[in-house]
């Protein structure tokens, strides 16, 4: 506010002040850009980084609305002319989009919820019993899973899930949670160490059981980290191709990334259809990120610095 008052005191700049009153943010920022020099090298790097994201996104958008003839004309950057929604219609019917979307949503939601709850419970137990061998080694054991990529264990997993009757989305959920667990526990335990033990001790003095301590005290405190873990689990589960493609045997219960793979073959390119389909599949991930990016950033920094 003081910044805005300064020009007003000076009669010569009164007009400027009047003009800027409508947009207070502008007025507050103005002196900074006048005073500090713009860091051009860094700005250039940031612009380049932004471009690497914006350009593919633009191509996806414009491709999705092109006609088939225009989609193969070799100009990825041209605007759609004429504007066509055929790609969306074809993609919608060819993949049975609503069904595949529902299955993908169910798998993703269950994976996120399962990962957050199991990860938090396990991390709580491990971090509060760090002096016991069993818990310490179970931490290392869970972490070791980070070094096992899915393709390595794919064949036995296919056989096992088949034998156990889990060759369906339930099996995919289970495996997604398993593979997400090690990284989540790493994040959660680091965060849990920054929560002072005194908090829990005071809860205990008030008569809280371990279960109550966790749900009423620790879990709410873990919220920012849960958001981070949840977002990672969401992205991994939503975008996964290989696991559902190998594990799920019923085509009606297949996920979006897998049913979309039919658009690109060696012999034919349906760019407009595939990009329309990718756009429909990408939208939820982008929307989720738009609304949760604040927590992602917070979570990452909070986990990084141990208290």
């Amino acid at each position: 506010m003081t910044l805005m008052n300064t020009p007003r005191a000076d009669g010569a700049t009164d007009a400027v002040g009047a003009a800027t009153t409508g947009t207070p943010e502008k007025a507050e920022r103005a002196p900074r850009s006048r005073g500090d020099k713009v860091n051009w090298p860094l700005t250039t790097v940031l612009i380049l980084c932004a471009v690497t994201v914006i350009v593919p996104l633009y191509v996806t958008l414009s491709m999705a609305f092109k006609t088939q003839a225009q989609a193969v004309d070799g100009n990825a950057f041209s605007l759609p002319a004429p504007f066509s929604v055929d790609g969306f219609v074809t993609a919608w019917t060819l993949t049975n989009f609503p069904a595949a979307f529902t299955v993908t949503v169910i798998i993703t939601v269950c994976t996120v919820v399962g990962t957050v709850i199991l990860g938090a419970l396990a991390s709580f137990a491990i971090s509060r019993n760090w002096d016991r061998k069993l818990f310490r080694y179970s931490f290392f054991y869970l972490l070791a899973a980070m070094f096992i990529p899915f393709p390595v264990v794919a064949l036995p997993q296919i056989q096992l899930t088949g034998l156990a009757g889990l060759d369906n989305p339930a099996g995919v959920i289970l495996l997604h949670i398993m593979f997400q667990l090690s990284f989540s526990i790493l994040l959660f335990t680091a965060f849990l160490r920054s929560i002072p033990a005194e908090l829990e001790e005071s809860a205990r003095i008030d008569g809280a059981s371990t279960w109550q301590t966790f749900w009423q005290l620790i879990f709410p405190l873990l919220a920012p980290m849960s958001a981070t873990v949840g977002i990672f689990a969401f992205l991994a589960s939503w975008n996964d191709f290989m696991m559902p493609s190998l594990i799920t045997s019923d085509p009606a219960l297949q996920t979006l990334p897998v049913v979309q793979s039919i658009f690109q073959t060696q012999f034919s390119n349906n760019y407009n259809v595939s990009f329309a389909s990718y756009l429909m599949a990408m939208a939820p991930a982008i929307i989720v990120y738009l609304f949760t990016q604040r927590w992602v950033m917070e979570g990452v920094t909070q986990g990084a610095v141990k208290g």
Partner: protein, 419 residues
């Protein structure tokens, strides 16, 4: 209050988990017998989807489900592969057959109707003693695609000997027209078109690989048959054609670029298969196109076209609905159903009573197909563990023919040793 809320969260998340499992369980519903029909060719899906709808409407006790996303390896491993498969037949698919994973269909009346020379194509990859487990449904014949308008404008005839081909290329070049459009950025186009057509035009591919398989680890510079010995002449000719008669930027062009350029009349000839017609038509739907077998010798009797089994049907041994799958297979093999598919997809029929091909774009190959003058691509008979396509790409962009072919020989022998 907070305690109750967290309990609710837990309960609802458990509920969602159970919903997931419940949804999976209901798919195993039992009222009509379900036949899972695997078809992965995207262009064919709309046609077969209609067929399935008709079939399901006329049958109360069987329901056919279209599956276009299954992973075959996983399905066979798990013991629940699709009940009926209709897809491209190649060496990878032959592995399943060789190990007895596909059931015997020789007692079906449809097996009697298959042309013997077409059934032979299946056996060229692998056989399983006493079984006919794969029934070819549609064959794609491939040869040089040419722009008939450019040929007419230049007063050119379709060449039937190698010398005539060179003369045609020279005339086109003199008129400022690129004779061939090359797309060597995509290795498969170099192997499928250039390598297979040139080799197939000169070498008896099936006999060659029979010898190679018999020799196994013996393959080398001194063996009776070897890539170095038998393929050197055609592959050298291939390199000559590429060096002299393709677009100068061929090395940096891909399949999509090629279709676009050819559709815009930028070259007179294109070494691609009928699958490219659909792609070309996206840009120029009315472009007059034709096909002719690539002449590699100076004897017109040597002319042959390259074929591949575009779709072949099989029923796995592990299928629990074999009879229902067989019934649907018979439905698919009805002559008018097959003919309609082939007409739409520019395929050739595989049965004795198949309707003749009529599309002008593939008419140029009709006489060769009908008289059995065809071969399966030489690059397709080499296991994928050997990067044949990349070797061919190397030759196409100027690599040494002799040394690359001897590398191929060495790879072949090494692979034979490992098996």
């Amino acid at each position: 209050m907070p305690r109750r809320r967290s309990a609710k969260v837990l309960a609802s998340s458990l509920g969602i988990l159970m919903l997931g499992t419940g949804l999976a369980a209901c798919s195993a519903g039992d009222s009509p017998e379900t036949v899972r029909f695997y078809l992965s060719k995207p262009e064919a899906i709309p046609y077969f989807r209609e067929l399935i709808k008709e079939y399901n409407a006329s049958n109360d006790d069987v329901e056919v489900i279209l599956d276009s996303s299954a992973n075959l390896q996983a399905g066979f491993l798990r013991g629940n592969p699709p009940d009926l498969g209709l897809l491209n037949y190649n060496m990878e698919m032959a592995r399943f057959m060789e190990r007895g994973a596909l059931s015997d269909l020789s007692d079906m009346p449809e097996a009697e109707r298959i042309l013997p020379e077409v059934q032979d194509l299946v056996d060229q990859y692998a056989t399983y003693p006493g079984r006919t487990s794969v029934l070819p449904y549609s064959v794609m014949a491939a040869s040089v695609i040419y722009n008939t308008k450019i040929f007419e404008d230049q007063g050119l005839e379709v060449p039937t000997t190698y010398d005539e081909l060179i003369a045609v290329c020279e005339k086109l070049k003199a008129a400022g027209i690129t004779p061939f459009y090359g797309t060597f950025k995509d290795p498969w186009t170099a192997a499928q078109g250039w390598f297979d057509y040139t080799v197939g035009g000169e070498v008896d591919v099936a006999t060659f690989y029979e010898q190679m398989n018999a020799q196994g680890t013996e393959v080398g510079p001194n063996s009776a048959a070897s890539f170095q010995k038998d393929f050197e002449k055609p592959v050298t000719q291939m390199q000559e054609l590429i060096d002299n008669y393709t677009n100068p930027d061929a090395a940096s062009k891909g399949y999509g670029d090629g279709n676009l350029a050819f559709a815009n009349g930028e070259a007179a000839m294109y070494m691609q298969g009928p699958w490219a017609f659909g792609e070309i038509a996206k840009t120029s739907p009315d472009l007059p196109l034709g096909t002719f077998p690539l002449p590699m010798t100076n004897n017109p009797d040597d002319l042959q076209v390259r074929v591949n089994i575009d779709l072949a049907a099989w029923i796995p041994e592990d299928s629990k609905h074999k009879d229902a799958a067989r019934a649907f297979l018979s439905y698919l093999f009805q002559q008018d159903v097959v003919d309609k598919y082939n007409a739409a997809q520019l395929g050739y029929g595989t049965t004795v009573d198949a309707a003749p091909a009529t599309d002008p774009r593939i008419l140029g190959m009709k006489e060769y197909y009908e008289s059995g003058d065809f071969y399966q691509g030489a690059s397709k008979a080499i296991p994928l563990t050997i990067p044949t396509e990349n070797y061919v790409q190397g030759i196409a962009v100027g690599g040494d023919v002799t040394s690359t072919l001897s590398t191929l020989d060495a790879d072949w022998a090494r692979l034979a040793l490992r098996r």
